[in-house]
Symmetry: D3
Subunit: 131 residues, 6 copies
């Protein structure tokens, strides 16, 4: 079942190919990456996931580079190897420099450390931070 990625394009159903076309057009890439080929095992999940990605990652109040940095920060925190690889590449494409990457890693490491210090010391929320 996991062999889906070795399928030729002609073997995917039309509703999957339509999503693939929209991904290629939106991102201006010649092929979709493995993530989408694997999700194609469930066409409804594929379509819904792509709609979410397309809407959420579009330019808005935050620019695409910042969104990719956030994606890398979450993926590194969760330890998702595939997502770290693919979104680090996407962040570089969106303009992330080597210096930015170093600072991104530094903030992610620091936040993961201080999250645990706050847990371990059982720090009560200051009144000024309450909603």
């Amino acid at each position: 079942m996991q062999k889906a990625r070795r399928k030729k394009a002609s073997q995917f159903p039309p509703e999957v190919l339509a999503v693939f076309e929209d991904i290629k057009r939106t991102r201006n890439v010649p092929d979709v990456n493995n993530f989408w080929k694997y999700l194609a095992r469930d066409p409804a999940l594929l379509a819904r996931t792509w709609q979410d990605v397309k809407q959420v990652m579009a330019p808005g109040a935050l620019d695409p580079l910042v969104k990719e940095l956030l994606y890398v920060a979450v993926s590194v925190t969760n330890g998702c190897g595939y997502c770290i690889a693919s979104h680090t590449a996407a962040a570089h494409k969106a303009g992330m420099t080597e210096a930015m990457f170093g600072e991104l890693m530094a903030v992610v490491a620091l936040a993961n450390a201080t999250n645990r210090l706050a847990n371990g010391y059982r720090v009560p929320i200051d009144a000024m931070f309450e909603p």
Copy 2:
């Protein structure tokens, strides 16, 4: 022992007060928040953590607002209540608008979802994403 936060300033040792002064001066705030008062139970840990925070969160290749957004993204992913409260406040102070917050949450939610899809579908890393 957890009663440290109720201490009056005069009850903290001088090396702790020196760190508190530097935090107040650097951030231009009248008092330090609970996190630092609790860490003061271990003056060496307090001093080292503040040095790390001061260096990492200073403006650099990434501006302070982006760094705070990243901090919130990690804290939300880890579910650290104190850190979510304090860094959301810090992000607002650094210029985060309501629209930015909504997009930040949307990216964090999406990344947490797709991280699991990549895990569950056991997606192999594309050759183009390999280092």
Copy 3:
């Protein structure tokens, strides 16, 4: 020390072999999978873990397929590669169809996303959900 898995059966102590036999009999399989061979480094841990697995995964108020789906959901959330591989296989053996797998992944992705939205928006628990 990690070479344990390459041991021949005759090299394992009797109390380990007894556990292996019970696993094979209970599951009707010709050999135990790597997980058990590695745990055999600590015979007490092996025996206790197998007892827990045998009791917890037996049919009860929840049927074995549902229990395997839950196992996959936790393993995918934690990103444990070995457990995702072995319990996805076990779920298929227990009757998971391709359509069920797609829905399982969809629920896991959604829950991981909304868990973070609840964290980030700091949503207070409704009175009706309080115990």
Copy 4:
């Protein structure tokens, strides 16, 4: 800003009220729970999240009770207090008995334990579990 939940219905914009109506109709409940009132701070996020929840949690290859059990399993693994509270209630409503809840907790605890044993013993994936 977090005061959104105290808004009267008339204070929400029409596109938010339309989502609230659809939630109430779909679930046959007199009011929406806090999660949706907080998400309403970002109407686009609210609408997209509800569409995802509505599609994913609908009956399909897995029945609604199983889906709620999976939701609880993920939320407990992540330690999301709000989601544990709301989805445990939803699971009870969908038919979860006290005995089912006990077995659900037992599987979640066991999977979280063995996930770490597989990590710590660095167990290689058996050839038969490879895709």
Copy 5:
């Protein structure tokens, strides 16, 4: 159902009371803490969990203080409020000093940080660390 903790001893079934007695005798405490009272909703889960705790936390190659420190380290990493509170208390009872607690927190924070640096920089395992 969550009201179990308010039950009087006489309201618990005999097999639950037997576990409670063993906990009190083993730990030399006048009453069991809430964790056990809540687990009593599922007597089989209660009995199995207590057997595991009793065996695993007994003195062995690692002494009880080290085991409690490890318990706190895991609980802080996972952000489990109840477990942090109860096992920090247990660690103090087993001999943890204030200085030990500070160093414990420092190691936990550091490990959580460097775990993410290793993830983010995609560091390959050195040949000398391979099993």
Copy 6:
């Protein structure tokens, strides 16, 4: 960019080489492991991380073996493959026996299980555990 590890020593800037020398001297090893070679992409991050590691892991109220056990416990909980490999090796070097490793894994597995039971049963913190 990820090719940094293949650099010859002469290709690293002097401030990086100075950190490498301090690591080798402090640990009495002929070369630094991959983690440090990868961090060298950001010399400031490298220097700060090494300073933290050097201070935190030095003998103190907790001895080096206990600190390494704690490091492994956190890394196993987070599922960080590189850190599990490198710190298990470090723990063995610091004196961890096979029996200690088995007990370490047993505590980590148990804590990860009971953390979720406490979450799922929504156990309130006993008054005696409150700070």
